[in-house]
Assembly symmetry: C2
Homo-oligomer: 354 residues x 2
């Protein structure tokens, strides 16, 4: 808890001077003002994060995939067996998963952090063993974690972010693996946004109608039997996952060190709602990589005030949407750094309207 509070206290507001300089500079570059749309806003935010204009290009980048299992799997909320979590960790370590392919293309370092897989995993160089417990308890029956377990997972995420920044990474991406984790995400989004479980729950990796109804029922029952109060850590412990907790810490850790974080999909979005409740300033360091096909993700992004960069009906997780968005993030900084100005290029500015 000491590390968590220390980290929250270390998150600074985005730098006002750098933000203003970036807005001014965007108006001097050889393009119509505003013509790079969302990328201009993003470049301004990256300047505020780095406290300098132009900001450095956010590279090298690292992706931490936080893996954990979920007791709620017992409720039949997914057609995938629980052992797939561990199998996919092995796939990540071997470099065969979708996110590995995407990360190789974008030169992103991939590490897997076991914060709670319900199986013993083969040690591997790219795998960090930080098991808080072997999967959460079943959130349909009891709180998924104790408060101490939730804090331990959050602090694991903080430490991972700290170590990656210390190792030289200047952009952190979130990833996740955990069979049944869209159910926990749906509960977190409902708890933090006030939306109903029917609105926040989707088909995850592709469930049928009966399973979707079961997911909604499970989330409704959990939130009804253990109403969430004002304590974000209590809410996280009650219905969240160990990877949600770790991702929340990872985001806080990156923000505390002044490094932007690219969020992946609905699991990261749910975790970012925890972050927002603990430390609203930290949301300024978050870039929404993509909009997932999960309805809860759109609700989470709206609550966070973030506009996603990629919107391609992805619903894979792993960090795939964050990695796909990375070149857009890097491009926005590069524009501020490398483009010519009207003056330097001898290009005539448009006439002021008559």
């Amino acid at each position: 808890m000491h590390l968590l509070q220390q980290t929250i206290d270390a998150v600074a507001m985005l730098d006002v001077d750098a933000t203003r300089d970036a807005e001014q500079r965007q108006g001097q570059l050889t393009k119509p003002r505003g013509s790079l749309g969302v990328l201009e806003d993003l470049s301004v935010r990256l300047s505020g994060i780095a406290a300098v204009c132009p900001p450095p290009v956010p590279e090298p980048a690292a992706l931490a995939i936080f893996a954990a299992d979920h007791g709620v799997h017992a409720q039949g909320v997914t057609p995938w067996p629980q052992e797939v979590t561990a199998q996919m960790v092995a796939n990540f370590v071997a470099g065969g998963a979708a996110v590995n392919v995407l990360a190789r293309q974008q030169h992103v370092e991939v590490m897997v952090v076991d914060v709670g897989v319900a199986a013993d995993l083969e040690p591997a160089p790219a795998l960090l063993s930080r098991k808080v417990r072997r999967g959460t308890r079943d959130l349909a029956v009891e709180p998924a974690m104790t408060r101490d377990e939730a804090v331990a997972a959050v602090e694991t995420g903080i430490a991972v972010a700290r170590d990656l920044v210390t190792a030289g990474h200047r952009c952190l991406l979130t990833g996740d693996m955990g069979i049944a984790n869209t159910t926990a995400s749906s509960a977190l989004v409902a708890a933090f946004t006030g939306a109903s479980p029917a609105e926040t729950t989707g088909r995850g990796t592709g469930v049928d109608d009966a399973t979707l109804r079961r997911k909604v029922d499970v989330v409704e029952a959990a939130l009804a039997s253990r109403p969430v109060g004002d304590d974000p850590l209590e809410t996280l412990a009650s219905v969240g996952g160990l990877e949600h907790a770790a991702i929340a810490g990872y985001v806080l850790g990156a923000a505390a060190r002044g490094v932007p974080v690219v969020l992946d999909g609905v699991i990261a979005g749910a975790a970012a709602l925890v972050v927002q409740a603990l430390c609203p300033e930290a949301v300024g360091y978050c870039v929404a990589g993509h909009r997932s096909a999960e309805p809860g993700h759109t609700l989470a992004l709206a609550a966070l005030g973030l506009r996603p960069l990629v919107d391609l009906d992805l619903r894979l997780g792993e960090g795939s949407g964050a990695v796909l968005a990375l070149p857009l993030v890097q491009a926005s900084a590069r524009i501020l750094r490398e483009m010519a100005t009207f003056d330097s290029a001898g290009v005539t500015e448009k006439e002021a309207p008559a």
Copy 2:
């Protein structure tokens, strides 16, 4: 005209076997089926284009920026002076424009093709001089081009695509520069989709209300005084630009050689409507890089049946949206090439629904 007809005749249907193989392979990869959304469909199409599954990663990529001026500039449809076209060509050649910055990040070769700039340009290695005429005539007053001029510009684009493929490029991106060219685009989109000029006309690089009304009036008057018939080349000549014609040829040239083309924004979208009218099969080789903020672009994409990859309120042109989309295109092919299958990775498939 001979080269144009020969090129149209050389465009093959997408390969059915490779398309089917790609669909099957997507179902064997270690991810829920469909979870990579639009990228899965794109990978299937790239397989059909390459006539092999998995398809090669579309690289190296080249961007041709077709530059030309527009007689309709005289109608006051933009606050930018016409000389900015030539100034921006110089900026491209010097590497200072937005698209240069983006292209450097994505390792895209950039060339500029002068198909009709109304000024003498300094020779430069990255600048190809293929001036068909010094700007179009004023489409508000008379046909913008003769039919022969339009065909000459189309065949210039074909030759540029041919030479880039011969030089080893395996993905071609469209770019454009031409002050006032959103007015001509609006006219083309209205002519080819049947939408009204009020629907197809937008603020381009940022015009005020009065100028927007003038743009709409100009397009309405042109289409009323010279109604478009069934001949796409006649329509192109009547209200299009030299860069629209060249881009149409460039797309046809790429399709004829079996290479995918990433379209930029509304200028490319308008040109692709000409392509669709001349040779519907060629649209199969087109990837919509992004959705521009111009309303005519959304109408053009709908008519083409293409879903854009990037949707970030860009309205710059130059090829910027195409370059930003390139990593997504390359990622989709790489997924088919490099991902592990359920069998090879020892990952359990999900249970069939009960």
